[in-house]
C-alpha cells in the first residue's frame, strides 16, 4: 500500500495574514480530511487515546470520517469532549494525543487535532447541531463561577443531568481565556460564542458582569438556594518581573495587551472605543503560548519588528510547536538566552530600552529543564518602544480573600481534590487553572467534567 503523507492544513500566507486578525489556519476540506483519516491504522489498542486528557474515542471518530459520516463523527467526539471546535484548534496535540500515536514512532502521527476541528466545523456549517435531549428537571440549583473552559464544561454536564445551572461571570462576555486571551486569528470568537449558545440551549443561565466575592458572596449564593457551587476562576493575576522601570509607559502585561486586543477589539479602534499603543519595535518577554499570541498580535497591530525575549533556548520554549512555527513564518524575531534586568525610560516616561543580560544553560531545575544562569558582564541595551510581559499568571485573590474557609496552597491556588474538585468548604468545588495553575483548555475541561460528576453525587447522596 502506498503510504499517504500527513496532510498539511491550508493556511493564510504569512505576508497576508500579518495584516489581518482573521484565522490563520483554514481547516481541512472534506477531501483532505478523508485522506488524512485513511492514514489511521485503527489500532486495537489505541495509544492515542491515552494521550488525551478526556479520552476522546479517537479511532472510532476517525473511522466515521473515513466513511464520510461526519455528523456521526461529531457525535462520537462529543461523548467525551463538549468543545471539539475549540480543542481541535488549541490543544497541544503534539504533547497529548498525537504524541502517543503509533504512526509517530517512525513517521508523522495522524493529525488528530485537525480532524477533530474539521468534524466540529463541518457540523456547525451544515446546521446539524442537534437540539439536545432535555432531561427531566430536578429542580435543584447549582452555581458555576467563571465561564472559562472549566466552568462551561461543568455547567453543560450538570445541565444535561437536569440541574438548574447559573453561570456567574465577572467580565461582560462569557468564555474566559477563550474570549479575552487567545486571539481571533487562532480561535475565532464566533466559535466560542457558538459553544456558549449551545449551553443556553441546554437551559444554562449565564449572568455576566457579576464579580463573585464583590457583587455577591458564596454565602449569599447558598442563601439564595444554590445547593452546590463550582469555582472555575482561572489563573487571572498577571505576573510582573519586579525589576526597575516596569511601570514605564508602553509596558503591558500580556493580560492587558490581549484583553484590549481580543475582548475590547482595540484592533478596530477607533470604530471600537478601546485604544492600544503598539510601537515600531515591540519586545514580548516570555516563551509560552501567551507570549506567542502577544507577539503575533503586535505584528498585526502594525509593529515593524516584533521580538521574543526568552531566557532559555528554543528547545525549552513551552509554547506549542505549531504556534512557534507560525510566529517564525510571520517574521517574529527570537532572542534566546537573554533576560531583562531593568527598563529604561525617556524623558516623558515612555520605555525606550531594556537592559538584557546574556544567559547560559546550567544544571536542570525542578521542571527538568536546564536552568538559565546569567553571564556576568554581558549586559547590553535592547531598544524598544513597546514591551509586553508574558511570564505567567497566578491566582486572583478577589473571591478567595473574602472566603477564608477555602484553603489555598502556598502559591495561592485552591486546594481541591483532583478527582472530585472538592475544596475545604462544604458544597464548594473547584477546577481548572485556579487549582492546577496555568494548564490547558482540555485539562480545565476535564476537571470541570469530573467535578460535575462529583457534584451530582454529592447532591444525590448528601455525602461530603
Amino acid at each position: 500500500m502506498k503510504k499517504i503523507p500527513r496532510q498539511p492544513m491550508p493556511k493564510q500566507p504569512p505576508e497576508e495574514r500579518i495584516k489581518n486578525f482573521n484565522e490563520v489556519a483554514l481547516g481541512y476540506t472534506e477531501e483532505l480530511a478523508v485522506k488524512e483519516a485513511e492514514r489511521c491504522l485503527q489500532c486495537p489498542r489505541p495509544f492515542c487515546v491515552d494521550g488525551c486528557p478526556v479520552k476522546v474515542k479517537i479511532p472510532e471518530f476517525i473511522k466515521l470520517v473515513k466513511e464520510r459520516k461526519f455528523s456521526e463523527a461529531a457525535k462520537k467526539i462529543k461523548e467525551d469532549n463538549v468543545l471539539p471546535a475549540i480543542c481541535g484548534r488549541v490543544c497541544p496535540q503534539e504533547e497529548q494525543c498525537e504524541k502517543k500515536c503509533v504512526l509517530g514512532i517512525k513517521g508523522e502521527p495522524v493529525a488528530i487535532g485537525r480532524l477533530e476541528r474539521f468534524v466540529a466545523d463541518w457540523e456547525a456549517e451544515h446546521g446539524e447541531i442537534e437540539k439536545p435531549e432535555m432531561p427531566e428537571k430536578k429542580g435543584i440549583k447549582v452555581a458555576v463561577v467563571g465561564s472559562g473552559p472549566a466552568g462551561l464544561t461543568c455547567a453543560g454536564d450538570l445541565a444535561k443531568m437536569g440541574y438548574d445551572v447559573t453561570i456567574f461571570e465577572a467580565l461582560h462576555k462569557p468564555g474566559g481565556v477563550l474570549i479575552y486571551g487567545i486571539p481571533e486569528f487562532r480561535l475565532p470568537k464566533h466559535i466560542v460564542e457558538r459553544e456558549v449558545d449551545y449551553l443556553r440551549l441546554l437551559g444554562v443561565e449565564i449572568k455576566v458582569d457579576v464579580v463573585v466575592g464583590k457583587s455577591i458572596t458564596l454565602y449569599e449564593l447558598f442563601d439564595m438556594g444554590y445547593k452546590a457551587i463550582f469555582l472555575g476562576l482561572g489563573a487571572g493575576l498577571p505576573k510582573f518581573l519586579g525589576i526597575p522601570g516596569e511601570n514605564l509607559l508602553g509596558i503591558y502585561s500580556a493580560n492587558e495587551f490581549l484583553t484590549r486586543t481580543n475582548l475590547m477589539k482595540a484592533y478596530l479602534f477607533p470604530e471600537y472605543d478601546t485604544p492600544i499603543k503598539v510601537g515600531k519595535r515591540v519586545a514580548v518577554i516570555g516563551g509560552g503560548n501567551v507570549a506567542m499570541d502577544a507577539v503575533r498580535s503586535a505584528l498585526r497591530h502594525g509593529a515593524e519588528e516584533a521580538h521574543i525575549i526568552y531566557r532559555r533556548s528554543r528547545a525549552e520554549m513551552p509554547a506549542r510547536l505549531e504556534e512557534i512555527e507560525n510566529a517564525e513564518e510571520e517574521g517574529v524575531i527570537f532572542n534566546f538566552l537573554v533576560n531583562p534586568k531593568r527598563f529604561i525610560g525617556d524623558e516623558n516616561g515612555w520605555v525606550k530600552g531594556i537592559e538584557l543580560v546574556k544567559m547560559e544553560l546550567g544544571e536542570p531545575d525542578e521542571s527538568g529543564r536546564r536552568r538559565p544562569v546569567p553571564i556576568p558582564g554581558s549586559e547590553f541595551i535592547f531598544e524598544v518602544d513597546t514591551v509586553v510581559i508574558a511570564i505567567g499568571q497566578t491566582a486572583n485573590p478577589v473571591l478567595l480573600d473574602v472566603t477564608p474557609e477555602i484553603k489555598r496552597n502556598r502559591w495561592g491556588y485552591i486546594e481541591a481534590d483532583y478527582e472530585t474538585g472538592k475544596t475545604s468548604m462544604k458544597g464548594v468545588f473547584a477546577g481548572g487553572d485556579i487549582v492546577t495553575g496555568e494548564a490547558t483548555v482540555i485539562e480545565a475541561m476535564g476537571f470541570g467534567r469530573r467535578a460535575a460528576k462529583a457534584i451530582d453525587e454529592y447532591l444525590r447522596t448528601g455525602k461530603w
Binding site: 475590547m264 471600537y272 499603543k277
Partner: protein, 278 residues
C-alpha cells in the same frame, strides 16, 4: 442591561445618573466604584458610586464629560440603557471615628468625596469640607455637601464664587490657623491630590487620596491600573483606589494617565464630528 431612571445636568459638562443596579446597590460602600461599558463597541471606564438606594435598587453616578465615552454617556436620557455595569469594585473607604476630618473635593471629585464625608459625619466625626471648582458654573453638590458637613468652604479658581483660589489654599489656611486636623481625604485631579499631600506631609496629617488610574477590567486581572505606593507596585482597582497620599508616586500616575492622549483626541474628535452630522 442597566436602565437609567433619572438624569440631571448638575453643571456644565457634569451629569448625574440614577441607574437600576439592585445587586450593586445592596453591596456598595463609600469609596467603591463600578466599571461601565455603554454598548457593544464601548470602552470599560470606572466611575465612583456616589449614592445608593438599596430599597429601590439604584445607584447614583456623577460623571464629568472629558472624552468620547463620557461625552456619549452625557447624551443618555432617562429610559436609556447602559450595556454593562460591574461592581462594586475596589476596597471600601475606612470610615472610623478619628475626630476632625477634612474632606476635599476637586471638581467632579466632589461627587466621589461626598459619600465619604457623609459616612464620616454619621460616625460622629467633625467634618470640614472644602470643595473647589474652576468657576461658578461648574459648582456641584454644594447643598448635599453642606448637609453632611459641620463647615463647608467653596473655592473657585477665578473667584467667581466662594473663595478665590484652590482647595489647597483653604486647607493651608486652616492648618496655619492651628486647627486640629486628624485626617484629610482629598479626591480630585491627580495634581490636586499631589499638592494636598505635599502640604500635609510636613505636619504629619494623615492624608488619604483616591487614585483615578486608567483601568480595564477592574478586578486585578490586567495590571493597567498599576501605581506605585511606598515604592511598591499596587493595582489601584483591587488594592485601592484609596491610598496614603504621602506614599503615592503622583508623577508616575500623572504620566500614566496621559498614555493614550493621542488616541483619546482622535476618538473624541471623530465622535463629536459624527454627532454633529446626526
Amino acid at each position: 442591561m442597566f436602565k437609567i431612571l433619572e438624569r440631571e445636568t448638575l453643571a456644565e459638562h457634569i451629569n448625574k445618573f440614577v441607574v437600576e443596579a439592585p445587586l450593586i446597590a445592596k453591596k456598595a460602600l463609600p469609596g467603591q466604584f463600578v466599571i461601565l461599558r455603554l454598548h457593544e463597541k464601548g470602552e470599560r471606564i470606572p466611575i465612583t458610586i456616589c449614592e445608593t438606594d438599596p430599597e429601590k435598587g439604584t445607584i447614583t453616578l456623577v460623571v464629568q464629560e472629558v472624552g468620547k465615552t463620557t461625552y456619549e454617556l452625557g447624551t443618555y436620557q432617562a429610559g436609556d440603557e447602559i450595556a454593562d455595569i460591574i461592581g462594586p469594585l475596589g476596597k471600601p473607604a475606612e470610615i472610623e471615628k478619628v475626630g476632625t476630618v477634612v474632606a476635599i473635593g476637586g471638581g467632579v471629585g466632589t461627587a466621589i468625596v461626598y459619600p465619604e464625608a457623609k459616612a464620616f459625619k454619621e460616625k460622629g466625626n467633625y467634618v470640614i469640607s472644602i470643595i473647589g471648582f474652576r468657576s461658578k458654573r461648574f459648582v456641584i453638590l454644594e447643598e448635599e455637601m453642606r448637609k453632611v458637613s459641620d463647615e463647608l468652604y467653596v473655592t473657585t479658581d477665578d473667584g467667581s464664587y466662594g473663595m478665590k483660589g484652590f482647595v489647597s489654599d483653604k486647607l493651608k489656611e486652616l492648618i496655619e490657623e492651628g486647627r486640629k486636623i486628624d485626617l484629610v481625604i482629598a479626591i480630585g485631579p491627580a495634581i490636586m491630590m499631589k499638592v494636598v499631600s505635599d502640604l500635609t506631609r510636613p505636619y504629619g496629617i494623615k492624608t488619604i487620596v483616591s487614585l483615578n488610574s486608567i483601568m480595564v477590567d477592574g478586578t486585578g486581572m490586567c495590571g493597567a491600573c498599576r501605581v506605585e505606593v511606598g515604592g511598591k507596585t499596587r493595582f489601584a482597582c483591587v488594592d485601592g483606589p484609596e491610598f496614603d497620599g504621602h506614599q503615592v508616586d503622583f508623577d508616575l500616575l500623572i504620566k500614566r494617565l496621559a498614555m493614550y492622549k493621542e488616541e483619546e483626541r482622535i476618538a473624541l474628535e471623530r465622535y463629536l464630528k459624527e454627532r454633529g452630522k446626526a
